[in-house]
Amino acid sequence: MPDFLTQTALLWPLAIPLATAALCAALWSNAKAQRAANLAGLCLTLVASLVLLNSVMTEGIQVKQFGGWAPPFGISFVADQFSAAMVVISSILALAAGVFATADIRRRQERSGFYPLFQGLMVGVNGAFLTGDIFNLYVWFEVMLITTLGLITLDRTRAQLDGALKYAVLNLFSTILFLMAIGLLYGVTGTLNMADLAMILPNTEGSVALTVAAMMFLLAFGIKAGFFPMFFWLPASYHTATIIVSAVFAGLLTKVGVYACFRVFTLLFEVEDGGIRPLVAFFAAGTMVFGVFGAAIQWDVRRILSFHIISQIGYIMLGLAIATPLALAGAVFYIIHHIVVKANLFFVAGAIHRATGTFDLRKTGGLMKSSPLLAVLFLIPALSLAGIPPLSGFWAKFMVIDASFRGDAAWLGAVALFVGLLTVFSMSKIWIEAFWKDSPRKIVHVRAVPVAMLLPIAALGAITLAIGFNPEPLVAFSQLAAETMADQAQFIAAVFNERQIAGVQP
């Protein structure tokens, strides 16, 4: 049985959410059974993703051909260290969200199909991380898009419908761009398998079609990830969703765009040629600065945090702009740290809402006295996001900024440091307004925050602390992941050797 498990390890992080989504939909009229299936599915997914990470660490890159069709004709699924880590961290986040949901999701939202949609989103996210086929990546993006649209409009309020409309149009435009880029790429190379593309592209003469395709990939993923000139859909829609949905979106969705960007621009295209590097550097700097400035004016916790997603994406893209092994390792570290911290902050925002009944910082206050535990649990991710040592954000920022000074991009490092200062400003604003100051309202009725909300917040906080106080293993892992990611030959060899290993006849 263990043999069977390791041979099929790649499948389960994808198959379990899919089966759970189907099961939750099939159990439509029975909310209790859906709830149980959802939690069971999330636990199993986490176990499966840990098994996958384990087999990637011990045996190297894992490859699976779905349907047994040999590459480059069949659809390959590939897991290297980077994608396996992403799957693990998103499964952890999903489980935290599932536990949080038991206290936060109302009956109405369950009846709107929260569980099937949530599991469907996890299928899309894990599929996007694991696929080795560029067209298949597009399909997973669409799976994510349609489930996120369902999740945003869970309550069908006017604000949600409005936000969803903006989200839908911009993201549809992004996927159309993505599809166009795939069409152009296919026209030039005649293949869609990423490993095959990585073999063919270096030997292909540069052409206008290829340059245009590369730019379109950058734009399409940029819209998804929330880069500087294209991020406006994000703060216009994320804050309208119910808080748990916002948390999952904040943690995962933009990161899938970033992941796709890293995959395409390390495996298929070089950042070096075609003027992509200055463009990415410009995007990264703009994303950091405008995200943090956008947050400074806001008073709603969700909107502050939404803008901070953008500014943090800038730090991650900084890694791609410099593209040295050190910078890529920093980016991997940053993504892992950021998924945990950002989702945790949204969870805290949900807890603040539960305790005080509002997301507006001007109306909250006094939480320091009434729920000191929540205050401590807020401080961990908030200080980590701002990059205060010794929390995980400090090491993440240190790695990318160090890489930018070593990689002849000192101005990017300077921008990053400046933005870090402003992040402290936003986080201390939440701290002062929600926790420190006295409540401005006469009726000081603070509701208790249920344990099911505090538990995931505490667990994610513990991960942040663990990374912060013992960063060495994760740094080593990030360096390994970055090395594998940058080494195209290893990826190609893994995909094309799989035929013999699995004993599949082409």
């Binding site: 597009y138 839908a168 549809l172 159309i176 216009a236």
Partner: protein, 128 residues
């Protein structure tokens, strides 16, 4: 031949983008429809335009004939059409629902998401 197709696709995309920039949400959805149709045509052209037999394996043989068309772009387009169909159906339903809830088909009338948690006191209190 390819040039004619390319021009046609360009015109269609231009129309799509023009509609997408409109203030009327139904036009925006139509713009998305036009754009995705143009993209499907683009994949079709990128796959090579030649007059050939359909890519169906003839009864009794195991492989495609030498003169058959490339089936992959067709499979891609089919997938893209199905996905596009679902998304456009959803977008249309969303537009209808938004119109019912907000009472406007103009994006200038859709201010609810922006007003929610607005940093400006006037907007925040108006919608409180």
């Amino acid at each position: 031949m390819s040039l004619v197709y390319a021009l046609a696709i360009a015109v269609q995309m231009g129309c799509g983008v023009y509609l997408l920039l409109s203030r009327h949400v139904v036009r925006i959805v139509l713009g998305v429809v036009l754009l995705s149709a143009a993209t499907n045509l683009l994949i079709f052209v990128a796959g090579g335009l030649v007059f050939t037999a359909p890519p169906v394996i003839v009864q009794g043989t195991q492989t495609l004939g030498a003169e058959a068309a490339n089936p992959l772009p067709q499979a891609l387009i089919l997938t893209a059409i199905v996905i596009g169909f679902a998304l456009v159906a959803f977008a249309a339903a969303l537009v209808l629902k938004t119109y019912r809830a907000v009472g406007s088909v103009l994006t200038s009338g859709h201010t609810d998401a922006e007003a929610l948690g607005s940093p400006f006191d006037a907007e925040a209190t108006r919608n409180a």
